[in-house]
Symmetry: C2
Subunit: 337 residues, 2 copies
Amino acid sequence: MVTLAEVAQHAGVSASTVSYVLSGKRSISMGTRQRVEQSIQELGYHPNAGARALASNRSNIIALMVPLRTDMYVPVMMEIAIAVATSARTHGYDVLLLTGEEGPDAVRRVTGSGLADAMILMDVELDDERLPLLRGTDQPSVLIGLPADTSGLTCVDLDFGATGALCVEHLAMLGHRDIAVIGEAPAVYERHTGFAERTLDGLRSRSRELGLRLLHRPCEGGYDAMAVTLARVFDERPDTTGFVVQNESAVEPLLGLLRQQGRAVPEDVSVVAVCPDQVATQASVRLTSVAIPAQEMGRNAVELLVAKLDGGGTDEVLLIAPELTTRASTGPAPATS
Amino acid sequence: MVTLAEVAQHAGVSASTVSYVLSGKRSISMGTRQRVEQSIQELGYHPNAGARALASNRSNIIALMVPLRTDMYVPVMMEIAIAVATSARTHGYDVLLLTGEEGPDAVRRVTGSGLADAMILMDVELDDERLPLLRGTDQPSVLIGLPADTSGLTCVDLDFGATGALCVEHLAMLGHRDIAVIGEAPAVYERHTGFAERTLDGLRSRSRELGLRLLHRPCEGGYDAMAVTLARVFDERPDTTGFVVQNESAVEPLLGLLRQQGRAVPEDVSVVAVCPDQVATQASVRLTSVAIPAQEMGRNAVELLVAKLDGGGTDEVLLIAPELTTRASTGPAPATS
DNA sequence: CGACAGAGTCGAAGCGCTTCGACAACCTAT
DNA sequence: ATAGGTTGTCGAAGCGCTTCGACTCTGTCG
């Protein structure tokens, strides 16, 4: 293993000079800099991470806490995680992958040990038990998702309230009056996951304003669960002509079942989905949808975090405005029978 | 920040004693151990990761290199990544998430800096450019996936060759003679990704042995791509009655299209999928499938790696035997017309 | 009863890096 | 010419931990 000292000797300078060449914290003459860089190349030197962390009190690692559960939206989570890892690298950070398993203890462990300089938390609940810890430490953090109380926190999220409103508006504009919402799995609501509840709020309040009837049903996803849910919906609200789907794994089942029941999309029934574009365009009907901007969320989270680490950032809530793309799954409501 | 020295002082012992309590590398009397543990509790002490890494030359971090691309099987990747992170924690390791982006440089960086003690690589190509580096370093590593030459490497994977064979056997046993394989996206084959090619080999050689006609077509996934592919298949081999699908995002499109064409599953056409159980059970037809044991692969990879780190492990290739679960998508071949 | 083996503890020497203060050499403005 | 500033470099002091050798007790065996 090559050390700083060896590089210094090889270049004929002191260790501290090499260090300053590396960090750029003091000015170095052209000649010296080049000689040192040459030696680094030739010896294949890599600074030792542990020593650097110890001496500088900075690990250059960002911890990313992903949810352990798999009842929710896995592809999006993965996309965010990869976006986080990729943008972190461009800022000189590596990413430590923590699962939700340890819960608050993981926060304590990482904070206490100096393993990471900062954290990004995903899968935030409205009243998340990790939040008090984050508020109580001086370690910078960013949430992907929105808790109930954001004071003293930095958050990034799609504006799910506006997303819900947007879906309803689109359907209302097309003349739909009875709208069913196929939501996430019940467990997601039981945990009070921020995005699910906020979407629902947006859907509800805008429906009220527009005078629409809204029926919300959580759904596990998959054909069997969707079949049961759909039957109940039409049982309770036979005039339903608009659907908003938030559970990715319910999308295809819904389309299949509607087809099977002889309800044409979009002639008889319109469907709006909240899902990544890839899902919307690969479904059996090209779906009108509000995209979940996973990449953007990951990138923004890292950038806010880096700003905080560099001392510039401040607490703020960054809500990404939803965009609805009209595709082939929505159309005018059928004439009232 | 609480340090070892403060704990030592609080407990009235020397720093080294506290260290030995923590590591258990020397015997400590009951009384002392309890006093120290008490102090650790009271002060909320967490060992500093950097200092520990520097002194012990062990970071207790495993690097996990995931593919950056998203043209392949994202949910499985995520499941493996989470399984790796979870089992790593049970062995006292944290996981550093590296994307494939940096390629071989990431290996060099991590190895050189002592950031991680070991690596797990996913998305291995048959002739992966990272392999020479792994062979040339003394840093332990495990591949999830199988390259062409496994000498000097430790690998974990589903036995995709046997998987292919198993699928074909199942269909052959039911009397199918003309079988179409809906494969991964073309790009996956162009990269010579191990698992895709091995599955194909298994399918082909067993088909030959059993005297079946096999037609392989890569497919991007999604309805449109699947529609084109399917049309070509029936064009070229009108008597096709058996399908093997390896691309998760082609599964539902295939089922939908077959239905649309009036081909009943499993009466007219049988379908075997290679996919996680969740997909198989949530599809519109409950699919006969060979499961991809993501959890098991992740866990095994970590266990092999930990064994190597502890000095016990040896190079070996661990192939997990495939298991085919019969569900509702396969049945006897229809009588020949 | 003296020698000897553990068991239990401590002190000190690093691990490889960053960073602070010091200093020499040079330049500028009086 | 002199005081004062810049620029570039160095030495040394840690950062918080692990680990080695040394030391002091006990208890045990011939």
